[in-house]
């Protein structure tokens, strides 16, 4: 019994990481209907950048993340203004193909620079320290930190969208980009800001992912699928829905891994397909 409680608890904590993966994707899709196929590769790019900072400069992962966040912001802004804005439009093909191309470029660039070896970000005692909760039940400080960070990110994004001027512009551009433009919203700038913020979330997700487990340049697509599944399970429209989707996916995978080590990811995928069949709009859709 305690083993199953443990499985669920670990799954929920893993779900926090998936929620971090998913919120950036959800943000970009929500504001400009852009499905970023390179999303997982961006997470890995951030993880490798974090690792390079930690091993190259000898700084702690926390400092590395603080350095990476403004860089990610600038990168996202430039990416949107330089490439992705040209792909947006009625046709869904250009953004999909361009981000697919980016995914291949990033994967191979990482392979070229870091080789195919798996490695991880060294974070000292944080990785192994744990909090004892009771007989046979303990949670690691690291997964707990990630989970709390995910809650903080969801809160911050929800506040940004709901209570700020820029959030209002985001929502306006999402609802009707032409009407928003007529009201003086500069769409290209707004879209670039959305991608910039999404990339900051990606940087947080990437560094945590790099600390939590081993990373290899070709892992990106798997991370994209987890992020996507969390978004669809949760339903579009709110970051809390996406967060819940991440937690459900984490629990499903955790249960799968407990049943058979070869089944973890598969059970996660099957949970996603089951939700899709039963509730195509996700479990917590905000609209309608």
């Amino acid at each position: 019994m305690i083993a199953w409680i443990d499985t669920i608890v670990q799954g929920v904590l893993l779900g926090g990481l998936y929620a971090l993966f998913a919120m950036g994707l959800s943000l970009m899709f929500g504001v400009m209907r852009l499905v970023n196929i390179a999303h997982g590769d961006f997470i890995l790019l951030a993880a490798f950048a974090g690792m390079a900072l930690v091993t190259g400069l000898g700084v702690s992962p926390g400092i590395a993340l603080l350095v990476l966040m403004p860089l990610a912001f600038a990168f996202g802004y430039g990416l949107q203004r330089g490439i992705l804005n040209f792909a947006l439009g009625r046709d869904i093909l250009p953004p999909l193909l361009i981000t697919f191309g980016l995914s291949i470029v990033i994967q191979n660039a990482l392979l070229q620079i870091f080789s195919a070896d798996t490695r991880s970000i060294q974070a000292g005692a944080l990785v192994t320290a744990s909090l004892h909760l009771g007989e046979g039940l303990a949670v690691g400080w690291l997964p707990l930190t990630i989970f709390v960070s995910a809650i903080a990110v969801a809160l911050a994004l929800q506040w940004l969208f709901g209570a700020t001027r820029i959030g209002r512009a985001f929502r306006a551009a999402a609802d009707d980009s032409e009407a928003a433009q007529l009201m003086g919203v500069d769409n290209r700038h707004i879209y670039a800001l959305a991608t910039a913020i999404a990339m900051v979330v990606v940087a947080i997700a990437g560094v945590f992912h790099g600390i939590r487990t081993t990373i290899a340049p070709t892992d990106g697509p798997a991370l994209l699928l987890y992020a996507f599944e969390a978004v669809v399970i949760g339903g579009l429209g709110s970051f809390w829905g996406t967060f819940a989707g991440g937690v459900i996916l984490g629990v499903a995978q955790s249960i799968g891994f407990r049943l058979d080590p070869g089944w973890g990811i598969l059970v996660g995928h099957l949970a996603f397909l089951a939700v899709l069949l039963v509730k195509p709009n996700g479990l917590f859709p905000k609209t309608r």
């Binding site: 852009l34 869904i92 250009p94 697509p221 669809v232 995928h269």
Partner: protein
Amino acid sequence: MDATVKPTFNVLRATRASRAGGIIALILFAVLASLPFWADSSWLRLFAEFACFLVLAQMWNLLAGYGGLVSVGQQAFVGLGGYALVVLANHTTLNPFLCLPLAGLIAALLAVPTALVVFRLQGGYFAIGTWVVAEVYRLLFANASFLGGGSGTSLMALRGIPKATRESITFWIALVLAFGSVALVYWLLRSRQGLALTAIRDSEIAAASQGIDVRAVKFLVYVIAALGAGLAGALYFLSNLRISPDAAFGVNWTAYIIFIVVIGGIGTIEGPIVGTVIYFLLREFFGDFGTWYLMTLGLVAIVVMVKFPKGLWGYAMQRLDLRFFPVQRRVQFLEKETS
């Protein structure tokens, strides 16, 4: 109205290029069919691979270029076709070469339940949804221990067949599939369904308002594309003799196909042919550069998509008005006869 009035126009469906193209295709087919009698066996194997990519590119073009179904999960059906071939050939007494069409049919059959799930998603979400399904199939086969699990299994059924015979038959199958896929897409697009499909490509809402059952047409296209991908997968692993989940269900299949179609020109039949030739030339000359080569492919695809969204063939067609596979109807007005 007088029923005997002659119409004052003709509807033209052929062009000069298409008539010439038909003859060239026949000659090419005859020459290629004789290849096993005089060419080196490495050429036969290369052509078999070429045929796989050509079939896949034609099918993906049909899906994405005409049906508006941008799938990044076609590797699901490549893998299913490949595994169906290996299982049927190894575990039944059927002739291994006859298992190939059956493998294609099995892939098409499995496309039906798959469509039920992925058709719940639209646009970009459909794309990633198809990828998830491909991963589900990959993981299922990776967990199937009687098929060798993650390390895969070999096509043992071809043991007794001499190498030359095996390679010749595989080559002829590849030849038929390559020409057949082009002919199938050409025929389909010239048919009633093709007209519906082109209308859907241009505007889904307008097409629906004209009485086209958009969902049914898309479903048909999805199943046909799965059949093609299944046959291509079966052919590839018939030629390769060994299959593993990572090789069969890898997303690289779709990555290369997308590159081929985008470079060649999406939404044309000539485009995937041009694209496949270019892809094989590039691979022949630059394939040894590994990661740099792949990075360049990705960058080229991005640049082409942004600057030349119609691809090389689309660009050429705009300037030359050259159509080897005319699928449109052209109206030719006749001079009024003076009575």
